[in-house]
Symmetry: C2
Subunit: 530 residues, 2 copies
Amino acid sequence: MTAGRGGGRAARIAREARSPTTGMPGVTSHGGRNFEPLTESDVARIHRAALRVLETVGMGMLGEQPPGVKAMLEQGATLDAHGRVRIPEALVEDALAGACRHWTLHALDSDRALEIAPGQTHYGTAGGAVSILDFHQRHYRDTTLVDLYDAARLIDTLANISWCYRPLVARDLDSLRALDVNTAYALAAGTTKPWGITFSLPQSVAPVIELFEMARGRPGSFFAEPCCHSVQGAGVPPLQYAYDRCLIKEAVIRAGVPLMIASAPQAGATAPAALAGTMVQVVAEALAGLVYVQAIAPGHPITFAPWPFVSDLRTGAMSGGGAEQALLMGAAAQMGHFYDLPCSVAAGMTDAKIADAQAGFEKASTNLIAGIAGAGMVHESAGMHASLLGCALESFVIDNEMLGGIKRAVRGIEVNDETLSLQTIAEVNVEGPGHYLGHQQTLALMQSEYHYPALSDRQAPAAWQDSGSSDILERARTVALETLSSHYPDHLAGSLDRKIRERFDIHLAPARMRPGSHWAKSEPTVTGST
Amino acid sequence: MTAGRGGGRAARIAREARSPTTGMPGVTSHGGRNFEPLTESDVARIHRAALRVLETVGMGMLGEQPPGVKAMLEQGATLDAHGRVRIPEALVEDALAGACRHWTLHALDSDRALEIAPGQTHYGTAGGAVSILDFHQRHYRDTTLVDLYDAARLIDTLANISWCYRPLVARDLDSLRALDVNTAYALAAGTTKPWGITFSLPQSVAPVIELFEMARGRPGSFFAEPCCHSVQGAGVPPLQYAYDRCLIKEAVIRAGVPLMIASAPQAGATAPAALAGTMVQVVAEALAGLVYVQAIAPGHPITFAPWPFVSDLRTGAMSGGGAEQALLMGAAAQMGHFYDLPCSVAAGMTDAKIADAQAGFEKASTNLIAGIAGAGMVHESAGMHASLLGCALESFVIDNEMLGGIKRAVRGIEVNDETLSLQTIAEVNVEGPGHYLGHQQTLALMQSEYHYPALSDRQAPAAWQDSGSSDILERARTVALETLSSHYPDHLAGSLDRKIRERFDIHLAPARMRPGSHWAKSEPTVTGST
């Protein structure tokens, strides 16, 4: 275990070793501009209003004073008569100036490491679903550790999902420590992509890091090459630090886990109903989180993660798939650009319970806006349903397909002398055959200019009928079933797995991790319960 | 019938009578900027390249020289040795300077008229589907006149679809003239929203206009208050005027029908495979169309309608739902803004054959990009499948739902002193209850700040299961069935309908236009064939 405060020399050297050139870059645009739902003046007004909120309203505290607040008070924050922590503008500006802007999210498979930097967009999972859609029937059941393992190995095969943050909570474990350690194990066993975990206890951080280092076969490597990131809010909206969460966050920071500085208030419930007001509050909260991190570990790898959620004000329930949600996360990405920080947003949520057209249009709207707004890391982008309460294995497959198209859209249109095609147009129309099929430019650009989806139907109606009139959910189910009955990654196999199981209390039965176990194709009605 | 060349005094007075203030404005953004897939420099390069194509490659001619070309030659265009019409930059610039930028698309119900102008976005239908998904089984059958009437009265009830351009071709008619007249009748009988028709013959234009004037009860009113628009291409891509189409277009113009100056080449087949090259060609074609219109009827109401389509280069077939399609139409809207012209794009297409998640994410991606790119009139935005070869009645209902959200997204985020919510944030956090539920701002903004979808599922998983675990396709089918079995608009009823039927050979049987006919709820397996 490497541990230590982020401010020391060793930490700085370690951070410098995290070369931003070693990771896979995200999707970037050829040109054009990001979608900007806010005017420049709107952005400035939201920034000024957030500063004013931090200076005049400040952050409340839920529970005892968290240790990091002490550091903040030493650096210029003050306590007011209401016991709230007022944060002056200078402290915010210092935090912004000193924040880490480029880092690498490592992975067990080094080819799958990701370069995190402003302007690079990656899509991955996150969430904490407590229920999963039964694979064969239209009902939700409680999520289990096997579900998490299954989701991880499915994600391992899906090219457009760049990391595997645990999308669901294994509810069949009897303690928070067992939950954290077994969550880490299920991810590590299921995929060689970068991992992500929300920790339940500060005490879990050290064993989880140790487990990840064992899985990579590189003891002591985590601090310099973090292969897991964490979404950890500073507190409880509106505008409160929470003692328990701050302790977890500090443990995460000390271990070197890159932190998504998240705040997830819900417009109309824990943030103002006015979308602009929600932006003010969520930016204030994320800035308060950044000040907190910088106070205890300057330069710690982070993303700025204002996650403004939405309430359906008819019921007060969260609604993750609406237009307001898309706009808010687009605006969050825009604020991230304003601060020149790598940014995380939540998109790809839907209120639908099943992968129907509603799920399709809600997920596409939010993921597309996030991408063209230039969000850096898009969390929750695949697999989720019921505004994060549920998930569905088939939906990871469908959403991966959708994300392939969205990434193509984010890339944009490449304009240069060659692509402007003046010579080609003249040839084809004056001399040539009057069409471009078979032209050398067409053949040359066929692969680079176009994205060819794998699961989407592009047949003529008659051919579609002849092949069974399937919908994408049926085709995704077939793909998921084939993957889950055959793809059992073996990078933890044998003695390494035995060592991990000797060191930790692993609840995932080895019998579940072999071909021919519960996902055998011959047993289509067996679901993934333990 | 009003007819006449657009350049005369009477025509100018008539056009001035088309007050832009009488129509319903489209969705506009509170602020922010349009999504711009092209840089400013890219836009300028595409514009310059399109001018160069028109000057050096020019437009070929399919068939005889169309009459409008004679006018263009008198105004400065030239014929080259290949028999191609070269169009000099000055002619294009004059056409751009003189183009009509604001007009009203009238409707039988005057409250449903639309203001067409740069910066106003409306969504409506278009298309020429030749097959329709059976309402109860997964197969496509040939489209009929009754299908068109059914689609029109369904659209009549769908709030986010602003006009009814004929989305399908009635294939059960025995002549092109019967097709044009009966298409007009089915639209006029089915909806009081603005109509849209693609004419098959120049000779059909006068009778169709007469039928529309009879339906509105205002003989001679069409030229001053056009209640139908038409998408008519200048020719056949790449870069050709087509004699037959030009004759139809001239008849349309003489009758005062607002014209979508469309060109719809297919990247990789009838346009370059390079997306930038496709933009160059399609802009050149649309400009050539504009020059043609301005040469014969300066100031005729138009939209600039570059409709760049996409080929799947693995098969050569059109693919309307991919990311490239979304980007191209976004770029088309951006070129429309560059010219400060009202613009039409095609979006909402999908390759899917049924309203599944693929249809959802493809339709949302293209419609959303069109909207946030500031496209003026979005054609094909609802109901279409199979890259325009097919349509589905349920899909009009689903897509109307989706468009409600997209229009909310286009509206954007309103930022002002009130919405920034500083006072509300201070009250709630320092004095107040620590949440915003029930706050006066929340109650005040509940209806204006949020869009509440009607058909989308926002229940908790357990409630969804208790209510039958439906998907949106099932719910849309119920809505469509209820509408089609009850909504028989009667604005053409009685003596007016008799007069129309005496004047024209109408094939839509009156028996099909009464409650209790083929769409009775008690006969759920009866489909809409004649």
